[in-house]
Symmetry: C2
Subunit: 168 residues, 2 copies
DNA sequence: CGAGATATTGACTAGGCTCAATTGAAGTGG
DNA sequence: CCACTTCAATTGAGCCTAGTCAATATCTCG
């Protein structure tokens, strides 16, 4: 998993997304050729570089492909926005975990667990919460038997309960 | 000015953006042809419809044009995200006003005032704040001589002060 | 094993939300 | 032109969630 972030005027770091296997990284670079975000690998990863040139070639072969992808990103970002603007800490975490879970399933990693490769600090940064809050909420979710955590392995015990939280 | 919003499972409304003269509306519809957000005009407006067909034609004439636009939207959304995740009420309002101001200048409406056509409730919804908080902060900004408000006309008195707030 | 990072927990604080009452603005119809 | 209605804005009081600070505990890795 890769953490993508930006650094603001004060040198503070803001996590923008976490990308996993199969995700495209750096699409925002299309805006003027400037890279607007940085990225760090959170574990050992293999990346496949794709030149703009090649992207354009793909776009010619499958017109609208790239646009559709970008539009989806836009919609996804919108959902995140909604979460940050209107949900409390518990709901944010629930939504976050469900999103990670959904993506791990799409990748075919099945079962009902996945790897939380980022630190709680990073999760908090991404969700607009303090790291301590993330820890407290995760503990609370565990006490409520909604999830289980073993080191960095996360198990979902009650997905409907989580959904209830996430979608209020 | 047009307010673009989505409605969640509970029927609650979430303001996504405010669009003004010259802005494109409904680009998220490119994601699968489904309209993912609704829109309401906040005043009498004239809109120019643009069929997907026509968009594609434009894209053929100026390859990459649409992608670049979408990428910019992505970056813009990212900024909003940063604001929602990491700033307090005062900073959010300051950043919001500066953004509106910048856009009004781009449109050539110059001077240092612009029209706040949306309700404080809507602003709050957009920024993840309660309407009452928006009101309080605006009053406070006025008391600090950073802005002036007359009905729905907003005047910026101290743009550097606002910038200081917005960027912390 | 030791060091540095990360996680956990507690106590305290504060910023913003909720609820409620009042004022003010804008539009409607007689 | 003025009463009447309605919706937006304003202001206050009290509460509560999440942030901050600080102290351990636990993990990870060389």
């Amino acid at each position: 998993m890769i953490k993508s972030y930006i650094t603001d005027h004060n040198g503070r770091e803001h996590v923008v997304t976490f990308r996993g296997r199969g995700d495209l990284l750096g699409l925002d670079g299309l805006a003027e050729g400037v890279q607007t975000s940085s990225a760090v690998a959170l574990e050992t990863v293999a990346v496949c570089t794709l030149s703009i040139h090649r992207l354009e070639k793909l776009e010619r072969r499958f017109p609208g492909w790239l646009c559709k992808l970008l539009a989806w990103e836009l919609v996804r970002g919108r959902t995140t926005l909604q979460i940050l603007g209107h949900k409390d800490a518990r709901s944010r975490l629930a939504a976050f975990l469900l999103d990670l879970f959904r993506r791990s399933r799409v990748r075919g990693e099945s079962v009902q667990g996945f790897n939380l490769s980022m630190s709680q600090q990073d999760i908090g940064n991404y969700l607009g919460l303090a790291g301590e809050t993330v820890c407290r909420v995760l503990s609370s979710l565990r006490r409520s038997r909604l999830i289980d955590i073993d080191h960095h392995r996360l198990l979902i015990r009650d997905i409907d309960g989580l959904r209830g939280l996430a979608f209020n």
